[in-house]
């Protein structure tokens, strides 16, 4: 009977697939570990920098340094989207792209011109397919992004803001809450919004001066925000891939169980039929 052989072939193929997905799951798990360590290592600096920038920030500085300018009316906004270079990570890339598309639509509805900057092959492939123009296309960000990567991505956009070419910069990336929960989010990178408690800079001796310190710190702050987002995005990607590959492995296991049962049934049917044929043949000779 052809059924049994057919099922056997499918079992082989599912077994091979399961082996691949399991390997990918293991690779993602070990990469996730390293990526998570980097996320945690980047937090103390980010938090401390945010605290200092937030404490110094006051609106009087706004006009002195172009990086501090706060446009009253936003005419043109830049959107920086971070995606992964590789797929097979569940809905990770699709979620990010969808989030960015919604943001772009929302901005256009408000009558704001938009420009798109994308890092990561998946996002670039999508927008290229849709025929949308991207000002930045970066494919060279590794699984372990460095502070130099962040600078090279955001530096030109920051300059565009300082020069007045764009009035707002949004960053779309994944938030790394845990390996299981990595929702996409939008972060308003520029103009810089003061956060935390109100300006407490009066109490401090500022050397050389408040706006000078901010003028120096803000580029570093923006670079570091992008760096943190990149590191989190890389960890989120590995987390999403591990989850996707784990469920693929589990599904392959379920399928194997079902196929094995089908195979045994087919085999038994074959044996039964053969016996029936022999018995029938013997009976006809009598």
């Amino acid at each position: 009977m052809a059924g049994a052989r057919e099922v056997k072939r499918r079992i082989k193929s599912v077994e091979n697939t399961r082996q691949i997905t399991r390997t990918m799951e293991l690779v993602a798990t070990s990469k996730l570990k390293r990526a998570t360590d980097r996320v945690h290592a980047a937090r103390p600096y980010a938090n401390a920098l945010q605290e200092i920038v937030g404490g110094l920030y006051s609106s009087e500085f706004s006009e002195k340094y172009p990086i501090l300018r706060r446009p009253e009316h936003v005419r043109r906004a830049a959107v920086l989207l971070l995606t992964a270079n590789r797929g097979l990570a569940g809905a990770f890339n699709a979620n990010l792209i969808k989030h960015a598309r919604n943001l772009l639509e929302e901005l256009s509805d408000k009558g704001i011109e938009t420009e798109l900057h994308v890092a990561g092959k998946k996002g670039i492939a999508y927008f290229r397919f849709r025929g949308e123009k991207m000002l930045t296309e970066r494919l060279d960000i590794s699984d372990y992004p460095s502070i130099e990567d962040a600078e090279s991505v955001v530096g030109p956009i920051r300059d565009r803001f300082a020069d007045g070419d764009v009035d707002a910069v949004y960053l779309v990336s994944s938030e790394f809450r845990s390996a299981m929960s990595t929702p996409p989010r939008t972060f308003e990178l520029l103009p810089v919004k003061p956060r935390g408690e109100a300006s407490s800079s009066d109490a401090y001796i500022l050397s050389p001066s408040g706006d000078m310190i901010l003028g120096r710190l803000l580029p570093a702050y923006i670079r570091n925000t992008v760096y943190t987002a990149m590191v989190e995005n890389a960890a989120a990607e590995q987390g999403a891939r591990r989850t996707a590959m784990k469920s693929a492995t589990d599904n392959a296991g379920d399928m194997l169980e079902y196929l094995t049962r089908t195979y045994n049934r087919a085999r038994q049917a074959q044996i039964t039929q053969e016996i029936a044929e022999i018995v029938g043949g013997a009976a006809s000779l009598e």
Partner: protein, 103 residues
């Protein structure tokens, strides 16, 4: 009284602990900090950061660019570079010209 010191670079905490005094390379020269220093935020230049431990002994690193904050005996040093050896190239952010400061 000892200072509570944290030296942090973008990808790690370089030092965390107590110190009796610190000498840091501020943008305009070396800056010493002892317990009871007034609240201060200053830009950093490039150079060696020295820490004296309360029990004796000392630590030192090379740092470049960033900012130093003192608030009620808590010293936070945020630097873009921190290592045992000086950077090959001093980052532009570590250089502050006096003429930029004068208004």
């Amino acid at each position: 009284m000892a200072l509570d010191v944290r030296v942090v670079s973008p990808d790690r905490v370089v030092f965390e602990g107590e110190a009796s005094s610190i000498v840091a390379p501020a943008w305009d020269g070396r800056l010493g900090i002892l317990s009871g220093h007034a609240p201060l935020v200053t830009l950093l230049g490039a150079g060696e950061l020295n820490l004296d431990r309360p029990g004796g002994g000392s630590d030192s690193f090379h740092v470049a660019a960033g900012v130093l904050k003192v608030d009620r005996d808590v010293v936070t040093v945020l630097t873009e570079y921190a290592a045992d050896v000086p950077p090959e190239e001093i980052p532009a952010a570590a250089i502050v010209f006096a003429e930029d400061v004068v208004e």
